[in-house]
Amino acid sequence: MTALEASGRNADPVVEESTAGSRPPTPATDHPRRATVRKWAEIALFVGPALALFLTFVVYPVISAARYSMYKWNGVSQFSDAEFIGFENYARALFGGTDPDTKQAFTTAYTQPFWEALSHNFAIILLSLAIQLPLALIVALTLNRKFRGRAFTRVVIFAPYVLSEVIAGTMWLIIFDPNGVATQWMRAIGLDMPAGGWFEDPTWGFWTVFFIITWKYVGLAIILFLAGLSGVSEDLQEAASIDGASWWQIQWRINIPLIGPTIRIWAFLSIIGSIQLFDMVWVLNRGGTAGQYSTIASYMMEIGFFRSDWGYGSAIAVIMFFLSFVIALAYMATILRRDNAHPGKAR
């Protein structure tokens, strides 16, 4: 939802400027200074509290993390005693560090798990777009008609998304227990669970988790698409069918293009969510005993917090922040650009 607001906020200045431009004539020409003071007072009053919160709880922590990331700090000693090591923590994560003596050891112990975690994030981004998007579209298009129990069906589809991650994760832990119901079903049809268990198998662990993530989040996509589809005028569909368009042609030529902005916003949310994915993988088993389904956030928590390597953990946090930031900016600037442009120009 934040992205929707964010995209709306981008358009706001245009609107504000135009109203601001149309209003001033009467009082502003008489007392331009008083009006300016008043305008700024209003801005301070309305923006101030939010800005203060934003600075305290977003900007300050980000700057702190960036500062910690430059130090060798175990989180126990006073930070003032920590040793400044520049970008060494980043180097350790990205390519094994700059010290030839420890490069080999760091590459195995830190660089590989880091890139493995990051590769899981990107795999989830791509797989979400490749699997969740078509799946959600098909379901949404199918449900986009009037039938008995439509509201009920929608609630059921949306239910996994509403469940808390911890409850959902615990539920799946029980289902995918080595002696759980999933194993019994597999055995009933003559198969078995993966050799190392559903979650901990080095090959299959990731796929089990991806299945759960899809189950959890596909409902959001479907609901968003349905909301988008409900805004598509029925006249267009009627006109098309009178012209002899088939059901598929109507979907492909009319419905899908018209919910394009919704799809693009969903993809944006999905990408950012995939980069920051944490709760579910942590509840399952902290990214797996050998990082089978670790993500950059779970890796950060594991090393930074549980191994008390705070400087390094902060460096991972900053890397994650930059990734999200750059990807979000790039997405805004390219794909969402046409949705955010002047309202009249969108289509």
Binding site: V76, Q78, R92, A105, A109, P202, T289, F306, R307, Y312
Partner: protein, 449 residues
């Protein structure tokens, strides 16, 4: 005796109070009050001690440890009317990983707090957070004996344990009988035989909660303990030097043991304590014959009964314990054992009453009460007569007769190197790592700290 010691401590307090009052120029929490006392002769000045411990209520709402500490604090306050003790009960991981580190850094730490010893305590001591108890409590330190060692750094005592015990193998005698095992294994060869007999009888020989990491790592610790000499292990805690080949050898022995297939299927998906499919649940329900664990598992197993006295008695009837078997060869003493415990440290700026109260906590009588009320294993030798349970007696006996007791390796090495070690060991269990990989991970982590 106890009264005399307390009187002596009281004198020491009076002296140090005067010193404290003279020194405190920056005015701490009780600045004005402590300033006023300097002339008034010690012992009566109102003092508040804050105490953080991990005695929290379990699933059943029962909290024997927390209740006992409440009682201990109340008794102490009755004897020392000027002292008020404020207790905060905090869940173990929150306490260790979040609350204590944050409080120490903020400079507003509790006066008395849970202390697990080893590398983490050494880091706290190095940062100057902990009160040196060596002189103030020297009598208590010698009374408690060797169990204090994990709470010392370079001969300086920074905490005292109230519980210390070795780990060993819990087993179900009825399943041993079913498999035709007559004597408990005392060597790894005999353990191997027992594993084979249990498998032949269709019983899971050993349960291990490898999904949690540390329960799997404890197998490696025991191999390392037998493979490495006492000096090599003990000095590794401070030198972080793992060049001795015995460390790789420990992993090779673990690999060889895993290859005999002694554990339940999909052991890397099994947690240690939660649910019937956990390793503790398997043993408690008779689905597995053995588990390597500390003394606390006695109570974890009880948690899988319905809680009635009959059910617990029935479980105790068919639950026993033997020490970790000896391996062939290696530089370690075959009767050495892995162990750990719980203690408390005083914050460096805590009032002197903190040390006095800590001495009271580990006094023989309070230790006896701890054994009786909580079922814990006290450190004070004089309190061992209060252990009545035959299995706990066996553990206490093994603890006191061991050639030496080595603190849990992950606690010894601290969270950074210790965590890397545990992850490396779990990789052996996962089949994604090897013996050298464990040592490499430890060396890499050591290079970052």
């Amino acid at each position: 005796m106890a009264n005399m010691r307390r009187a002596a401590a009281g004198a020491a307090i009076a002296a140090s109070m005067a010193l404290l009052a003279a020194c405190s120029s920056d005015g701490g929490d009780d600045g004005p009050t402590s300033g006023a006392t300097s002339g008034g002769g010690g012992g009566d000045e109102p003092v508040t001690l804050t105490w953080w411990h991990n005695g929290v209520a379990g699933d059943t709402g029962e909290n024997s440890l927390g209740d006992y500490w409440d009682q201990v604090a109340a008794d102490y306050m009755a004897d020392n009317p000027n002292v008020t003790i404020q207790i905060e009960q905090i869940q173990n991981e929150d306490l260790q990983r979040t609350r204590i580190p944050t409080a120490l850094q903020s400079g507003d730490a509790p006066d008395l707090f849970q202390q697990w010893g080893g590398g983490e305590m050494a880091a706290q001591a190095e940062a100057g957070y902990l009160m040196d108890l060596s002189d103030v409590l020297s009598d208590d330190i010698s009374r408690l004996g060797g169990g204090v060692a994990p709470w010392q750094v370079d001969g300086v005592t920074y905490g005292l344990p109230f519980q210390f015990a070795v780990e060993g193998i819990w087993y179900r005698p009825s399943l041993f009988e079913e498999a035709g095992i007559t004597d408990v294994p005392t060597t790894m060869d005999e353990l191997g035989d027992a594993v084979q007999k249990l498998k032949d009888a269709g019983i899971v020989p050993i349960a291990v909660g490898a999904a949690d990491g540390w329960p799997a790592a404890h197998w490696w610790y025991n191999f390392a303990l037998r493979s490495c000499s006492q000096d090599v292990v003990a000095s590794a805690g401070t030198s972080l030097d793992f060049s001795d080949p015995c460390w790789v050898d420990a992993g090779d022995q673990l690999q060889a043991f895993i290859d005999t297939d002694p554990f339940q299927p999909q052991f890397t998906s099994t947690v240690a304590q939660t649910g019937a499919t956990s390793s503790a649940g398997m043993v408690a329900n008779g689905d597995a014959a053995m588990e390597l664990m500390g003394q606390w598992n006695y109570f974890v197993y009880e948690g899988f009964t319905d809680g009635s006295d009959e059910a617990i008695a029935a479980l105790h009837e068919d639950l026993d314990w033997f020490p970790m078997p000896a391996t062939d060869g290696g530089s370690g003493d075959p009767s050495a054992a892995m162990g750990g415990g719980d203690g408390f440290s005083c914050y460096v700026d805590a009032p002197p009453e903190c040390a006095d109260f800590l001495a009271y906590i580990v006094s023989d009588d309070v230790q006896r009460g701890y054994a009786e009320a909580v079922g814990g294993l006290p450190v004070a030798p004089a309190a061992s007569d209060a252990i009545t349970d035959p299995v706990l007696q066996k553990i206490a006996q093994t603890t006191s007769s061991a050639a030496y007791v080595q603190l849990w390796m992950d606690t010894l090495l601290g969270p950074n190197v210790g965590g890397a070690m545990n992850d490396g060991i779990v990789n052996i269990f996962n089949g994604t790592g090897d013996a050298q990989g464990v040592v490499d991970a430890m060396v890499a982590a050591a290079a970052t700290s």
